[in-house]
Point group: C2
C-alpha cells in the first residue's frame, strides 16, 4: 500500500507558491524544509523561540498550545510551523518575518563606507607587510612562429619551448592545464600565434599554464587574474571577487547559508548530516544552492567568466568547513571533539565541483579545534594581533562567539556558548539583522520613550530587535532604571506591563507602529536569555585572562568583528557587562575578519602560510572543561556583573 | 511553422526497437546516427562500399540505384541506408551484418593462449629491464593512538605526523586527496585507528595519501592497487585492469568505439568534431558510452570499486587522443597538419571525468605527428626495438597502417594510407573481424575449392572476409593462377564469373552456404582496392628504407601488431607483395602493441619516461610529401610487385 500524502502549498510574499507532498503527521516546518523553504527556527523546532509563526489559510493541522500565539491569532489560523502536524491538504501563508533570511540581509561585505575604509586600511597593512601579490599567478606574453610543413611542432610543444626560454626554466617543469590545452589550437590561430598565457608558479619552481588568451591589443582587453575569497558563516555566506593583480575588489555578494533549513546552529546541522544522505544534502545546500549562484552573480556583475577565477580561499568555522568539503562532521560534537582535519593542504577547483577554473588552487583556512575554525585563524590574521606587542583581544560575534587573546608571543582561542541571542534566537522579538530590525535604540531619560535606527529602506517600520539593538535596548533600560541588575522590570508606566503569569515586559513598539501589526515586546524571559549570552562572553574573556594570569586591564586593544559587530554600541556593551570595561578608544571594529583574512590569504601565499602558522601555534582552550568557568559565568549573569568594580565606568 | 517529421523505427535482432523522429530528406544512415545505432559505413556514406544494406519493411524511401542491391533484393525492400532518403514514416530492419560492431568482435585482449604467451613474455622483458613496479604507489600500515580529551589532534594531522615519521619525510611534503579526507573519520574509527594507507610518492619526493582502508586482518582483505591500460582504436577500444603490485591482469574488456557512427575513419570523425557540439559528442561517444561502461564491467568482473584505480595510461592515435581529451582536432587534417599537442604531461582522473580515483595519475602516450600517435610510440616501446642493435621494422595494422623502422640508434615512423581494406572497407564482401568473418582461407590445388577458418561459434556460416582472410584468399588465388599479377580473373570454372559489365569475380561461398543467404563474392574491383592497400604498405616500407639508404635485406626483424595481425598468414602476405620477402622466422607477431605499451607505462614511471623519450626522438616521415613515394606505390600495385626480384620466395 502506498503511503497517503497531502499536498501542502506555501504562499510567500514576492515568490511563487511552493507545493510539496507530505505524509500525515509531518510538521509544517519539516514540510517547508522539503520545499527548500527556510523558515526561521533558531530554537531548532523546539517550540520555544516562536519565530516560525505561519498562518494556515485552509486545511487542518494539529498544534500544541504556545504562549507565542494569542487566542485571537489562533482563531485567525496562526500557528508555529514546528509545533503543527499536518492533517489534510493545506494552504499556508509564510510572513516575511518567519523567513530565515531575506535578500536584503545585512552582511559585512564592503557595502558601507565604513567597511570600505576598513578594507582600504587592511590593503595598506598587507602591502606594508609584503603579504601582497605573491600568489604565483602572472601573465606572460608569447609570440610564436606559425607552423609550417617544415616546422610541424604541435601547439603545446611550440608554446612550451618558447615559454621555457622566456621564464628561464625547462620544459619538464611546465605543465598544461587540460583547460588550456583544449583552448590552445583555436586561441593560437585566432591571434596569429601571439598570445597571453596565464601562468602559475608553484613554490617548488614548477609552473602550470592555466589558460591562454589572444594578446591584449586592439579589441582584446588583457585577461583578468581573478580570485575569490569566501566566508561561509553558519547563517550567511559572503564572497568577494578580487583582481589579483591590483588587489581591487571587483564585486561582492552575500546570501543566507542554504543549510539553515536543516537547523540554525552547527549542532543541528551536524545531526542532520549524519542522517542518510544528509552530508550530501548539507554540502549541496551551501555549495550548489548558495556559493554557485553567488559566483555566477558576482561574475556577471564584474563581466568575467568564472573560469577566470584562478585562486580561491575559504574561511569558515570547523563545522562549515567539514560540510562544505563533504567530510563527515559527526565527531565534532562527540567527545573528545576531534575534527577530521585542522588543515587540508591546497585543493583544486574540480575537487570541490566549484565552477571556477578547474585547476584553481583552493586554500582553506585551518581550524584549531571543533569549535574554533578557519574563520578565527583567518580573523586573527586580519586583526594582525599576531604581530603586535600589546596584548590584544579579538571578539568575533557571529552565530557563535569566539575569542582570541594574545600578541606576537602567543595566541589563545576559545569559543563561548553565547547561543543564538545575538541573532535573534531565544528572544521573542529577536531577529537577524535584516529589513525591519531595530539595530540601534536610545531611550529618552525624561519620557522613557524609545527611538530607533531601523535596517531597511526609508520609512521601514520595526519588526523586531537584532543583536546590536538588543544590547542598546537592555543597556538603556538598565541605565534608566527600568530594569534592575537581575533584568527584572522595576518601573510601571505606559510601556511596561506584567502578564497573567507574572512575567514583566517592555513594549518597544505598539501594534500600530510595527510592521507586523503586533506589539514588539521584550520580556523578562528574553532579558534572562540575553543576560546568559552576554555573561557567556564576558566570563569566557575573564576565564581565559585569569588562566593566563592577566587582569582585564592588561588588555591594550580589543578588536570586534563579525556581523553583529557592525552596528554595536560599545559603550552599551560595556554598560551591561558584556565587553570589558576599557577605554572606548581601545576598541576597534574590524568588520568581517573572516572574509578579510581570506582576502589576505588570496592575495599572498606567504599570508596563507602565516595563517597556517597561526593555526599551528594557537592554543585552544576548551572552556567547558575548565574548572573556574562555571563560577565566572554565574557571576557574569547580572547587569553588569556581581563584581561591580569591574564596570565602574561612568555611563 | 514546425518542421514536419517522420518517425523511423529501426528493428535490430536481439535489441529493442529504436524510434527516432526525422525530417523528410534525411538519409536512413543519418537517422540511424540520431538513434545512436552504428550502421557500418566504412566508405562514410558515399554509396560505394555497400555495407549499410538495410531492409525497408514499411514506408517510402527514395534511393539511388546501386550495384550492391539486385533487382530482386530491391523488390524485397533492400536499400543502402546511406543512399536512401526518408519520404514517410518507416520501419527498417537492420541485419546483423550491417552493424558496425558486435558484442563478439574479435580484439586483441589476452583472450587467447597466444595472446597470453605474448603477455607473459612482455612481463618478463619489462622486469628484466627494470621497467617494473616504479609507479610510485604503495600501501603503508599505520597504527595510531586513539584521540582523547588531552590529545584532540584532528584525524588528518594525527595520521600525517605518524606517516611522516614512518616514511622519514616531513608533514609539508604529504598531501591528502579530498577522497581520502572524506573517508578518514569513518575508516579510522571503524578500524580502531589501525589502517592501511594508499600512498603515492612523486618523483620530487612529495607524497599523496590517496585512500585509507581498515588494516588487513580477519575479514579485511588488503586493498588492491589497481591500474588501467586503455587502447583507444578508431574501431575498437580495449582496456586492461591490472594489479599494480603483482603486474597481473585482473580483467580485460573491449568494445566498439562508439564514435564509429560518426564515421569509420579519423578524417570523418574530425569533420564531425568541427560541427556545432561535435567535439562534445565525439568525446562522449568514446568516453561516456564506451570507456565508462567498460570500466564498470571489468571492475565488476574483478570485484573492485573503480575508486581503486589509482593510475591510468591511455594509448591512441593522434585523432583519438585529441577527441578523448576534448581537444579540437581539426588542424590535424589541415596543412601543415599540426596537432594541439604531442605530449600532455600527467593528468588527473577528474580532468577526464573518468570514474576512477579522482586523484589517479593519467598518462597519455605521446604522439609524434598528426598521423603517428601514442599507439605507435607505446607500440614501439612494447616491441623493444628501441633497445636492439639489429635493424627492426614494426608494422602496426589497425584501421590505419603505421610503420616504425630503426634500432637502438634511431627510429623513424610513418603512416601509410592503406585505407580501410583490411577492416573490410572498399571490399564488397569485406567485413571486420567479427562473427562470420573468414579469417583464414586455403584453396585446394586440384579442385580449386576453398576451405575456411571462420570467426564465431561452432557451425558458424561465413558472412564475408576480414583482413587476414582477404590476404589468404588473394594469395591463394594468385598462387593457383586464378588471378594474374594485375588481379584479373584468368580462369574459368564453377567458382569464377564475369558479369554484364565485364567485371570478373570469384565465388567464395554460394548463397546456400552463407550466413546471409547471398553469394559471397570477391570481384576484380575488390581485388584492385586490396592491391592498392597492400601496395601502400609495401611502398611505405620501401620509401622509408630507401630514404635511409637501406635495402629490404637490411631488416633483421619484423614485428607485426594490431588486430589484423592476429590471424595473418605471413607467408601469404609476402606472396602477394604486402610484407617484405624475409625469412619467416624473422617475423614476430606481438599482439596489440598499443595496449602492451600502455601496460608497460602503467607498471612503471621509467617506462613512461622511456615512451616520452621515444616520442621525442622518433623522426616523423610524411610520405605524401616525399618525392619517390608515388613511384614506389605504383610499382607496388601488382602481385607481388613490378620488380619480381623483390619476391623471389618459393611459395
Amino acid at each position: 500500500m502506498e503511503a497517503m500524502t497531502y499536498t501542502i502549498t506555501f504562499k510567500v510574499e514576492g515568490s511563487k507558491d511552493l507545493r510539496v507532498p507530505a505524509v500525515p503527521g509531518t510538521t509544517l516546518l519539516e514540510a517547508a524544509k522539503q520545499a527548500n523553504l527556510a523558515i526561521d527556527a533558531p530554537c531548532s523546532g523546539n517550540g520555544t523561540c516562536g519565530k516560525c509563526r505561519v498562518q494556515v489559510l485552509s486545511g487542518e493541522v494539529e498544534s500544541m498550545e504556545t504562549r507565542h500565539i494569542s487566542p485571537e491569532e489562533y482563531s485567525q489560523g496562526y500557528r508555529l510551523a514546528c509545533s503543527s502536524t499536518i492533517r489534510s491538504d493545506l494552504t499556508v501563508a509564510v510572513p516575511a518575518g518567519a523567513l530565515a533570511y531575506q535578500s536584503r540581509m545585512k552582511v559585512t561585505d564592503l557595502s558601507t563606507g565604513r567597511e570600505q575604509g576598513i578594507f582600504a586600511a587592511l590593503q595598506e597593512e598587507l602591502r606594508d607587510l609584503s603579504f601582497w601579490g605573491d600568489h604565483g599567478l602572472s601573465l606572460v606574453g608569447v609570440h610564436l612562429k606559425s607552423p609550417a610543413l617544415d616546422d610541424a611542432r604541435a601547439d603545446r610543444e611550440r608554446l612550451l619551448w618558447d615559454l621555457a626560454e622566456q621564464i628561464q626554466s625547462t620544459g619538464e617543469s611546465i605543465r598544461f592545464s587540460l583547460h588550456a590545452l583544449r583552448r590552445l589550437p583555436q586561441v593560437l590561430r585566432g591571434a596569429d600565434f601571439s598570445c597571453t598565457v596565464v601562468l602559475r608558479q608553484d613554490p617548488d619552481q614548477k609552473y602550470t599554464v592555466l589558460d591562454i588568451f589572444p594578446e591584449a591589443a586592439g579589441e582584446n582587453a588583457a585577461p583578468v587574474l581573478a580570485g575569490l575569497a569566501i566566508d561561509i558563516g553558519t547563517t550567511s555566506v559572503s564572497i568577494l571577487l578580487v583582481n589579483l593583480q591590483t588587489g581591487a575588489a571587483l564585486a561582492v555578494g552575500s546570501a543566507g547559508n542554504g543549510q539553515i533549513r536543516y537547523g540554525a546552529d552547527v549542532i543541528n546541522r551536524i545531526i542532520e548530516s549524519t542522517r542518510p544522505g544528509g552530508l550530501g544534502r548539507l554540502h549541496k545546500a551551501v555549495s550548489d544552492e548558495c556559493i554557485e549562484p553567488l559566483i555566477r552573480q558576482i561574475c556577471h556583475t564584474a563581466g568575467l567568466p568564472p573560469e577566470c577565477i584562478y585562486r580561491v580561499v575559504v574561511a569558515a568555522n570547523t563545522t562549515m568547513t567539514h560540510l562544505f568539503l563533504g567530510v563527515p562532521a559527526e565527531h565534532l560534537r562527540l567527545e573528545p571533539y576531534v575534527p577530521a582535519f585542522f588543515a587540508t593542504g591546497t585543493l583544486r577547483g574540480t575537487d570541490l565541483g566549484l565552477r571556477v577554473h578547474p585547476d584553481a588552487e583552493v586554500e582553506i583556512a585551518p581550524s584549531i579545534g571543533s569549535y574554533v575554525g578557519g574563520d578565527i585563524t583567518a580573523g586573527a590574521f586580519s586583526s594582525m594581533i599576531f604581530r603586535k606587542e600589546p596584548l590584544s583581544l579579538l571578539i568575533d560575534l557571529g552565530t557563535n562567539g569566539e575569542l582570541v587573546f594574545g600578541n606576537g608571543e602567543f595566541l589563545m582561542a576559545c569559543a563561548c556558548s553565547a547561543g543564538p541571542a545575538f541573532e535573534g534566537g531565544d528572544i521573542s522579538c529577536g531577529m537577524r539583522a535584516t529589513d525591519g530590525a531595530i539595530e540601534a535604540c536610545t531611550i529618552d531619560g525624561q519620557t522613557l520613550e524609545p527611538a530607533f535606527r531601523i535596517i531597511g529602506p526609508e520609512g521601514q517600520k520595526p519588526l523586531g530587535l537584532c543583536g546590536s539593538g538588543l544590547i542598546d535596548t537592555i543597556g538603556e533600560l538598565f541605565h534608566y532604571g527600568i530594569i534592575n541588575a537581575k533584568g527584572r522590570i522595576t518601573h510601571e508606566g505606559k510601556r511596561t506591563f506584567r502578564d497573567e503569569w507574572g512575567i514583566g515586559g517592555y513594549i518597544l513598539a505598539f501594534a500600530q507602529e510595527s510592521e507586523s501589526g503586533r506589539d514588539i515586546i521584550l520580556t523578562e524571559t528574553d532579558i534572562d536569555n540575553f543576560i546568559r549570552a552576554k555573561g557567556a562572553i564576558f566570563s569566557a574573556i575573564r576565564t581565559m585572562l585569569t588562566m593566563l594570569d592577566f587582569s582585564i586591564d592588561a588588555v591594550e586593544a580589543v578588536y570586534v568583528s563579525g556581523g553583529i559587530g557592525s552596528g554595536i554600541n560599545v559603550k552599551n556593551a560595556i554598560r551591561i557587562g558584556m565587553f570589558p570595561n576599557l577605554p572606548l578608544e581601545q576598541y576597534h571594529y574590524i568588520g568581517n575578519s573572516s572574509l578579510s583574512g581570506a582576502y589576505g590569504m588570496l592575495m599572498s601565499r606567504s599570508a596563507t602560510e602565516k595563517v597556517l602558522e597561526i593555526g599551528r601555534g594557537m592554543t585552544y582552550l576548551e572552556l567547558s572543561s575548565h574548572p573556574s568557568y562555571m563560577d565566572e559565568f554565574v557571576a557574569a549573569c547580572f547587569i553588569p556583573h556581581t563584581d561591580g568594580t569591574l564596570f565602574s565606568l561612568d555611563a
